[in-house]
């Protein structure tokens, strides 16, 4: 009887061990779902799809993109947060996650996930004006805003990345703008083309043809140094406005996903980021493959989050003021 128990125990142990080994050796053994918390066709979606194309080759399993759109991306991030931590569901998102928390949409942040690292960096966050406008640079725009407080319009998507930028901008320059919501990137283009607004905050890749065709003028990019892909555009810092907002894209797994699985996925990201083909394809959309390990990414994202929360009061005040205007 005892020997039977021993054998049984050994068998169980062997089984457990073999599973453990399998988990270590064989990941992934089935397709991996990557949730994009935005609709198909946007920059998050496109970046994720390009990455997926190359990740598939590295991981040897299909990487399936699932778009879960709605509620500023919080529906998608929540879905991943509540998924099984088995390494087969990941989230691909950008700094809007901090904004969701800042605006009180969610009560969690990236630290409530397992970070697999930053994969893509977008240093093309710019302010754009209509080419027929009198604003040649940031200072023209700032002085116009100071001359007519609350009259010069800036279009954003409330609670979005560009909303934070414009709050930081007003804080840094003392300009008093009429910040209006016009919706998504495509709607911003329409609003600026139709001269319904004076300036918009957007990514360069989306409007580059409008610059080339002479309809739009870029008055500054929010990066620390000039972006080599758009070397003629001066930074905000050069123009005396001390702010820089890179948009970074990262992968998160549900909390409790085994470290070696996250590590494996992260290694695959690193390989893709180093792949010249992937780089070239991402560069077409004016973004660059820039890998950060989970540890480095965590540190970087914590810093960024702190910066963002500096503007929490401003954002909340903006919200309250708006409520008052409504009343």
């Amino acid at each position: 009887m005892k020997s039977f128990q021993k054998v049984a125990a050994l068998l169980v142990l062997a089984l457990v061990a073999s599973f453990a080994v399998q988990a270590q050796v064989k990941y992934p053994t089935k397709p991996i779902q990557v949730i994009v918390p935005a609709g198909p066709g946007g920059d998050t979606d496109l970046n994720c799809r390009i990455m997926a194309k190359y990740l598939e080759k590295e991981l040897g399993q299909p990487v399936i993109i699932v778009n879960v759109n709605g509620a500023g991306g919080s529906l998608g991030s929540r879905k991943v947060k509540d998924s099984a931590p088995d390494g087969y569901t990941a989230l691909f998102f950008h700094p809007s996650m901090f904004l969701n928390k800042l605006m009180g949409l969610v009560d969690y942040s990236f630290v409530d996930f397992e970070n697999a690292g930053i994969a893509v960096m977008d240093n093309t966050n710019i302010f754009v004006v209509n080419a027929t406008s009198p604003y040649k640079n940031l200072n023209d725009y700032i002085s116009a805003a100071k001359a007519k407080p609350g009259k010069v319009r800036f279009a954003t998507e409330t609670g979005g990345f560009t909303h934070l930028q414009i709050l930081a901008f007003q804080d840094a320059t003392g300009a008093d703008l009429n910040v209006v919501d016009v919706g998504s990137a495509a709607q911003k283009i329409v609003a600026l083309l139709g001269k319904q607004v004076d300036a918009i905050g957007i990514s360069y890749g989306i409007i580059k043809d409008y610059v080339a065709s002479g309809k739009f003028r870029v008055i500054g990019v929010m990066s620390d140094v000039r972006n080599p892909m758009i070397p003629t555009i001066p930074t905000f810092k050069e123009q005396g406005v001390n702010m820089s907002f890179p948009k970074f894209f990262y992968y998160l797994f549900p909390k409790g996903t085994p470290q070696d699985i996250v590590g494996r996925f992260s290694d695959a990201i690193a390989k893709v980021a180093a792949n010249p083909d992937a780089q070239a394809e991402l560069n077409k959309f004016m973004v660059s493959a820039e890998y950060m390990t989970p540890a480095v990414a965590n540190k970087y994202m914590l810093e960024q989050e702190t910066t963002y929360f500096k503007y929490q009061n401003l954002m909340m005040n903006a919200k309250i003021e708006k409520e008052e205007v409504k009343k």
Binding site: N69, G70, L75, L105, D181, V190, Y210, K326
Partner: protein, 501 residues
């Protein structure tokens, strides 16, 4: 331009492209005709496949899907009174009564032909006057959207007909349900009761599936359908397209008006075929000398709905290709499909990639013809659907509705939304309330609110500045006119009835 056109056609007159167009139309019709599965979903599923293809072939497939899917919805709308996609909601209202009268062939034939003509007219508009049409989209700011939404809400009066009070109640119910979820602009959660699944509100598609498919299935399940012999099919006979030349010519004015409505609504970003079919139907009804015949199975209703929904295709392509701004959910994905091939729609696309643009035009035209041929020969096959016993057909459709609702956003919550709206639709039917005004409330409520709040932001909180925008003022006046017109008409009707009594 002729040269570019020739080059465009040449680029799609390859075996691979033609195959993709045919495949796209075929798959599109299937997705379109099955309630719950939509054109958007067909494109979403096929989009990743196109990433590995050359641009001309990729676009062939997507255009085929778009055209096939948009017209495919008419099949189930007419045969089983369940719209295959949101674009065919209004097709049910007269298409199904026609089918139950034994005129399924005529309804289907007209639907197919006018889908074809609607697409064709919109492509003509797209090819020849896309740039000026795009300027039209630029004239629409928040104030204009607010005014347009208000005006479109008055369609409730037309749709409700004699049941005006009930129609307004249902329309308001739709507006209230549209409030659930995060408020536009400041994302303040409303009526969510702390349930995070409600943060995103009720999506339009599950709501539509519930209201029109599930409620219909419940109603049929309750009736004694099993005992009745279906005799509709035995009456099914058709020659050619099932309608006479005279009937065809009688629809010319209706067709052009509906096509214009379809193109116009297609161009405006954010709304497309799902809205245009209802608006075109309402306009046709309100302008007709005999509005009472609508809903009883008149050809005009089918023609208005099917012409306008397909006309929205060319309309939605206008801002996509000229401005890089998608006109509806399908074109939003096609935008992604173009971008991944390094083609940025916008002012330079016609110049830098003229052949691709004209290749897209050519694909649309060819896909339109393929759709016509496929559906013409398919009508007889589709009509056999009616011979499938309903106790088998409807549960299958029910399952597909659930799959479709889930597939939309990969959330089980949306399946519950289908059920909820199914029950709402069923109860409304029982109480003899019209369900269609609810759809207008759900679609137009957020559009009106967002437009109003953005307009207030732009005008620094001064509502009176809304009246400085000409297009807005036009729609405000049209709104007031429609309300007065409907009210007076109702009072007059009642007086007449009282006099008779």
């Amino acid at each position: 331009m002729l040269e570019l056109f020739a080059a465009g056609f040449a680029s799609v007159f390859t075996l691979a492209s033609m195959f993709m167009i045919t495949l796209g139309v075929f798959v599109g019709i299937i997705f379109g005709s099955i309630p719950g599965l939509t054109t958007t979903m067909a494109v979403a599923l096929c989009l990743p496949l196109t990433f590995g293809m050359p641009p001309a072939i990729a676009m062939s497939l997507l255009m085929g899907l778009y055209i096939g899917g948009t017209s495919g919805g008419l099949i189930s709308a007419i045969l089983i009174n369940i719209p295959g996609t949101p674009a065919s909601v209004a097709t049910c209202w007269d298409g199904h009564p026609m089918a139950s009268r034994g005129e399924a062939g005529k309804a289907l034939g007209a639907g197919v032909v006018f889908s074809f003509l609607g697409t064709l007219l919109s492509i003509v508009a797209l090819v020849f006057i896309a740039p000026p049409l795009a300027e039209f989209a630029l004239l629409f700011g928040p104030v204009e959207y607010f005014a347009l939404a208000l005006f479109a809400l008055t369609m409730i009066g037309t749709l409700a007909g004699k049941q005006l009070a009930k129609g307004i109640v249902v329309g308001l119910l739709g507006l209230i349900l549209a409030f659930v979820g995060m408020a536009p602009i400041d994302a303040f959660p409303r009526f969510t009761f702390g349930i995070h699944d409600l943060d995103g509100g009720f999506d339009i598609l599950p709501a539509l599936i519930g209201l029109f498919a599930v409620s219909e299935i419940l109603s049929v399940a309750e009736s004694d359908f099993a005992l009745k012999k279906e005799n509709v099919l035995t009456k099914f006979k058709m020659k050619g397209f099932g309608f006479s030349v005279k009937e065809f010519l009688g629809q010319m004015y209706n067709m052009f008006r509906s096509a214009l409505i379809g193109i116009g609504i297609g161009i405006l970003p954010g709304i497309g075929a799902g809205t245009s079919n209802i608006v075109a139907y309402s306009v046709a009804k309100s302008q007709d000398k005999h509005p009472e015949k609508y809903g009883t199975g008149c050809l005009d209703g089918v023609v208005a709905s099917e012409t306008s929904n397909n006309a929205s295709i060319g309309g939605a392509m206008v801002p996509l290709l000229t401005l890089g701004v998608p006109g509806d959910t399908v074109t939003a994905m096609i935008l992604g499909g173009l971008m991944i091939h390094g083609l940025t729609p916008g002012p330079l696309l016609f110049i830098s990639n003229g052949v691709v643009v004209y290749g897209i035009f050519a694909s649309l035209i060819i896909a339109n013809f393929v759709m016509l041929i496929m559906e013409f020969f398919g009508i007889r096959v589709f009509a056999k659907l009616l011979s499938v016993p309903k106790h088998i057909l409807l549960p299958v459709i029910f399952a597909l509705c659930v799959v479709g609702a889930y597939g939309l956003n990969n959330r089980v919550f949306d399946v519950w939304v289908v059920m909820l709206f199914g029950v709402i639709g069923y109860v409304l039917n029982k109480l003899k309330f019209p369900t269609s005004p609810m759809i207008l409330g759900i679609i137009l409520g957020p559009m009106a609110e967002t437009g109003f709040r953005r307009g207030m932001q732009m005008n620094e909180g001064n509502f009176w500045l809304f009246f400085t925008r000409p297009i807005g003022v036009f729609f405000f006046f049209a709104t007031v006119f429609m309300i007065v017109f409907t009210a007076v008409g109702n009072v007059r009707n009642r007086r007449k009835e009282e006099a008779r009594a």
